[in-house]
């Protein structure tokens, strides 16, 4: 949770994924979307910010014999990037965005991934379609042995929902990083819940990473 201003509008801290650890700190990758990220963009270099974190859980690592498949939709790359980095050359990444220009950090992703399958909504780069769709066309050749894969995904809700249908069909274990409006980030306000088959769960505390099968989509 990052405080973007000292005033009261916007009032709350903003929740961000930790994009990448560097030698002397960490990086956040964000898309300018609203008031908070607008303020961040106009901030002068060297400005100090209040931060609370790291909070919540992380993607559980795959077993030795599994091939990790990573699905990133748009700015969702910020959440899975450090996983791709950590899996050092093992992950197959399905990276989708609206247009070619929205494929942030593609060069770095290619550097750490075993393979990157790119897609865009408008077809300006890679295949035309979403990352969930490219995954769907990839899987049939491996339909006999789905257990060799472990899937990790972050992106817009419709992408995760579509993905969860595919992974259910192929019976592949999938971890999804969920998103909801968040106030406190420490499990107190109960604002950021998502519905699961085991009742409402807090994205900030029990998540953000949950299994695709536990979510009521």
């Amino acid at each position: 949770m990052i405080e973007v201003n000292k005033g009261t509008d916007p009032l709350l801290k903003r929740a961000f994924s930790l994009f990448r650890k560097t030698g002397d700190g960490l990086q956040i990758l964000y898309r300018v979307r609203g008031k908070g990220t607008g303020i961040l963009r106009n901030m002068k270099e060297g400005t100090s910010l209040d931060m609370l974190g790291p909070l919540g859980n992380f993607y559980p690592l795959p077993s030795e014999d599994q091939t990790p498949l990573i699905i990133a939709g748009g700015i969702g790359i910020a959440s899975v990037f450090s996983l791709i980095e950590r899996l050092a050359g093992k992950a197959i990444v399905f990276y989708g965005a609206r247009t070619q220009d929205d494929l942030l950090m593609l060069k770095e992703v290619r550097e750490y991934a075993h393979d990157v399958i790119v897609s865009t909504d408008d077809g300006s780069a890679g295949k035309k379609g979403t990352a969930a769709e490219t995954l769907r066309s990839f899987l049939p050749s491996y339909a006999s042995s789905p257990a060799q894969f472990c899937i990790y995904a972050c992106g817009p809700y419709p992408l995760l929902k579509a993905l969860s249908q595919t992974t259910k069909e192929y019976r592949i274990r999938a971890y999804v990083s969920m998103e909801e409006h968040m106030a406190c980030g420490i499990g107190a306000c109960l604002g950021c819940v998502v519905k699961t088959h085991d009742g409402y769960k807090r994205v900030c505390k029990e998540g953000p990473v949950m299994t695709a099968t536990e979510i009521v989509w």
Partner: protein, 305 residues
């Protein structure tokens, strides 16, 4: 200069006037890794009901200008699980533990108050009367003086613990509601609960909250809360716990000057988990600077002259 910042809420002695507002501090344990709960005047836990409550579907919160709307839907683990799983931890701290509770019928209010009164380690009760009365169908307990009087009177008979009634600001005349609650036996009044509000998404043309409406909190409501504390102080003799948008010591002091004996920090906890401690220290520093030896002599001074 040493200053005395201890206050009394009925029989309840608080080492300082800073409490946490129900619903913004979880069951206390969520904040224990950030601050020493023993420094607080009191911890007021999230509203409890006899049976666990699942709460509303998301989106449950939305940010507004200098505030936020919430429609959590009173999600809670229920009184029994609180007693067995949460209270033992809270009791290890040297602070007053106040349990906020609610019911959706008169019988539920009574049963909840009776059950909570049998447990060691609970020092006071705070009644939320801002929830819908299922029996009456349409009305909110806390928006009708007759119904307020009835439910507070019934709970008063069911408990010997200090009883705080949390007033809804969504009424025409808060003083009338304050009198109804005080006359029915409330030991203190929490002023105010959230203001009902709404935010709309112009793209989907639908309210942003799944529940459509929610409770507005944060600095946006502070002037309204302050005015209501001022009016309630004039209307009744029972102590007032002032709350609504308190972000710092200056805000807290405004409430005390308006007539509050204690104050509760709410939404600010979400932004700075340790803000209550800053407020306690800030109040102490202000009193020392102004050469005020006892905080109680500051209370209600806005009414003088």
């Amino acid at each position: 200069m040493t200053v005395d910042i201890s206050v009394k809420i009925g029989n309840l002695e608080l080492k300082n006037p800073v409490m946490t507002a129900s619903g913004t501090f979880g069951y206390g344990e969520e904040y224990a890794e950030f601050l020493d709960l023993s420094r607080l005047g009191a911890v007021v836990v999230k509203g409890l009901s006899l049976m666990p409550k699942e709460g509303n579907p998301p989106p449950r919160i939305v940010e507004t200008a200098s505030g936020m709307l919430n429609a959590i839907g009173l999600q809670n683990i229920g009184i029994e699980r609180f007693i067995s799983e949460k209270l033992p931890f809270l009791r290890t701290y040297d602070t007053q533990i106040i349990v906020n509770f609610f019911g959706d019928s008169l019988e539920e209010y009574i049963a909840a108050a009776e059950r909570l009164s049998t447990v060691d380690g609970i020092h006071g009760l705070e009644m939320n009367i801002s929830c819908p009365n299922k029996q009456a169908g349409w009305c909110i307990f806390g928006t009708d003086p007759g119904v307020t009087s009835q439910v507070v009177g019934a709970v008063r008979k069911a408990t010997r613990l200090p009883l705080i009634v949390k007033l809804s600001p969504n009424v025409t005349d808060i003083a009338l509601m304050a009198k109804a609650a005080a006359n029915a036996g409330a030991d203190a009044l929490s002023v105010i609960n959230t203001l009902t509000g709404m935010a709309i998404d112009i793209g989907t043309r639908k309210p942003k909250l799944a529940n459509r409406t929610g409770g507005l909190s944060g600095p946006a409501i502070k002037p309204v809360a302050l005015r209501m504390v001022y009016e309630v102080y004039k209307a009744v003799d029972v102590p007032i716990i002032g709350m609504g948008g308190i972000m710092n010591a200056e805000d807290a002091l405004e409430f005390i000057i308006a007539g509050a004996s204690a104050i509760a920090v709410g939404t600010a906890n979400f932004i700075h988990p340790t803000v209550s401690i800053d407020i306690i220290d800030g109040i102490t520093a202000f009193l020392a600077q102004e050469h005020i030896a006892d905080i109680n002599s500051l209370r209600g001074t806005a009414h003088a002259g």
